[in-house]
Amino acid sequence: MDVAAIAKEIKREDMLQMYHYLRLTRALEDRVTALYRQGRIVGGVYTSHGMEAIAVGYASALERDDVIAPYHRDMGAFLIRGFTTGEILAQYLGKRTGPTKGKDGNVHMGDLRRGVFGFVSHLADNLPVAAGAALAFKMRGESRVVFTGTGDGGSSRGDFHEAMNFAAVRKLPVVFFCNNNQYAYSTPLRLQMAIPNVVDRAKAYGIPGEIVDGNDVAAVYLAAKRAIAIAREGKGPTFLEFKTMRMHGHSEHDPAKYVPRELLEDWKKKDPILKAERLLGELGYGEESYFQRVAERVKSEVEAGVEFAEQSPLPEGPEMLEGVFADGADSY
């Protein structure tokens, strides 16, 4: 896609804001990784390093009352929905001030008031749930949309199939994506599926599919916009395959020796932040000094978060007894 077209289709402020969130995601996750290496994080760390453009792109394309049921490398989506760096770091540190109050860890956070569903470890489990949220919107005649997805690995699960099929039959306003980062933990695509592209799965449901450069935030944003528009018009789900590469190990303890180094070298050149900076330059929206300013801004945002999280109290033991049952039901 050429720069002129992008200039026409994406507002300057949106482009700049996406760049901000790319940098913020990177800075936050890098900081989490550093804390992990220092042994200060409780539990595992799964990052979106090198894949930040996906969540940043799609979450930017949604309206405020649309709903996100994120997958496990969608940090950008939380940030865009207003989860602060402090809250998120508190979550990683098991603090009471995290979105789950210490009940759950890392990316397993959600908040109905901000329209983000809590991630469920069991991969693809949130896809039927997302379809159900879309069903509610359709039944009530609201023009809201749900965005959800899974990894290449998660696309092998039965719930993926049941969700996509149900959404297709009822033409629900939901967009499914796949973050195809070439690996499920250590398992390469060839041991996961016998198709060249995950998007081929969409044919089983009769829904449109599209392959998108997952490292190009503008491409992600525009593809998401198109799919969201289709959904909002009542024309049903779309499946977007975001091609990308997992640049870190599966989680931060994993050196990922099973990934060929050349593959990583190749993809390093396609880093989403580099790409975005190139694009911003071409659009005339910003250059090196601007990028530096953003880098500094997000750095201080992250450091403020670290301070907040570290100063936050841990929960007290008996708090774990609370909340098994609800007294009343909010909704979004």
Binding site: V67, K103, G110, V120, D125, K138, N165, Y332
Partner: protein, 331 residues
């Protein structure tokens, strides 16, 4: 039990369920139904007959054959403010949705604070020659899954009142309706709106000698046994749990404190069944008031067999209760 003046004509257990759904759908437009063949066909057991015409295909949603998918969808819809009531065609197929129920619905509120107000209706139980895949009592699994509420009515009154309460509850509730009772028991119901609150057991027969603690179809077996034992002067108290989670310990304990002897009766397999939990609670909390061993009556640890003599052997019988009661009385 029925304390109101306004009484309808006799209603079957099945009709009571149907009425509860109908009234809740009329009362609250957020309530809708999902499941296989519940629309045009009116459901495998015809509980939702006529609902499609009345409420339209978006409130009576025939789904693809995909239990995990539609239970998951119910969870999402519930979080968005709707009140889904999902039908398993047979309770046995709930295994296909097990992951969504135990990992998503049950843990959602605990993990991140979003309530999941939904009901799963599960037609369960044997005695209908359904064999291993159409007779199961799956409540034991969910009894051991924190975050779910479980209900299992034994009468039309409870069936109606508990379903309404389940629909109004802000949590995921599995409603076990016993297939054997559908058309076999009837009673008159109050005309006005009523609920049976979740978490309250009901003493279906007051007695002094032995407490039989049970639920579902077995309640009627216990009442039969109690009847048979009157001539021997053995006076059974029959406690119908009605709600399995949260368990009404108070009613259980006060019955056992009175009688000092207990029979735990259920149709679900014995090992790891709900009787085990109640025995454990009593053996810890009411140890001093027990005057005899805690007796469990439940099927052996096998699938539900198909052929009538096999299934008959499998299921608890009134005579099992009678002989256990005699032994306990003599203890």
């Amino acid at each position: 039990m029925v304390t109101t003046a306004q009484i309808t004509e006799e209603v079957s257990y099945l009709e009571a369920i149907s009425q509860a759904l109908d009234e809740e759908m009329a009362r609250d437009e957020r309530v809708f139904l999902m499941g296989e063949d519940i629309g045009t066909y009116g459901g495998a057991f015809k509980i939702t007959e006529g609902f499609l015409q009345k409420y339209g295909e978006w409130r009576v949603l025939d789904t693809p054959l995909a239990e995990s998918g539609f239970v998951g969808a119910a969870i999402g819809a519930a979080m968005m403010g709707l009140r889904p009531v999902v039908e398993m065609q047979f309770a046995d197929f709930i295994s296909c949705a097990f992951d969504q129920i135990t990992e998503v619905a049950a843990k959602n509120h605990y993990r991140w604070g979003a309530a999941v107000p939904m009901v799963i209706r599960a037609p369960f139980g044997g005695g209908v020659h359904g064999g291993p895949f159409h007779s199961e009592c799956p409540e034991g699994w969910f009894f051991h899954s924190p975050g779910l509420k479980l209900v299992a009515p034994s009468t039309p009154y409870d069936a109606k009142g508990l379903l309404k309460a389940a629909i109004r509850d802000p949590n995921p509730v599995i409603y076990f309706e016993h297939k054997f009772l559908y058309r076999r028991i009837k009673s008159a119901l109050p005309k006005e709106d009523f609920i049976v609150p979740l978490g309250k057991a009901d003493v279906k027969r007051v007695g002094n000698d032995i407490s039989v603690i049970t639920y579902g179809a077995m309640v009627h077996l216990a009442l039969d046994a109690a009847q048979a034992l009157t001539k021997e002067g053995i006076d059974l108290e029959v406690v119908d749990l009605r709600t399995l989670i949260p368990l009404d310990k108070e009613t259980i304990y006060s019955s056992v404190r009175k009688t000092s002897k207990v029979i735990l009766l259920h149709e679900d397999n014995k090992t790891g069944g709900i009787g085990a939990e109640i025995a454990a609670l009593l053996a810890e909390d009411c140890f001093d008031c027990l005057d005899g061993p805690i007796v469990r009556i439940a099927p052996p640890d096998t699938p539900v067999p198909f052929s009538p003599p096999l299934e008959e052997f499998f299921l608890p019988k009134a005579s099992d209760i009678v002989s256990a009661a005699r032994k306990l009385a003599a203890y």
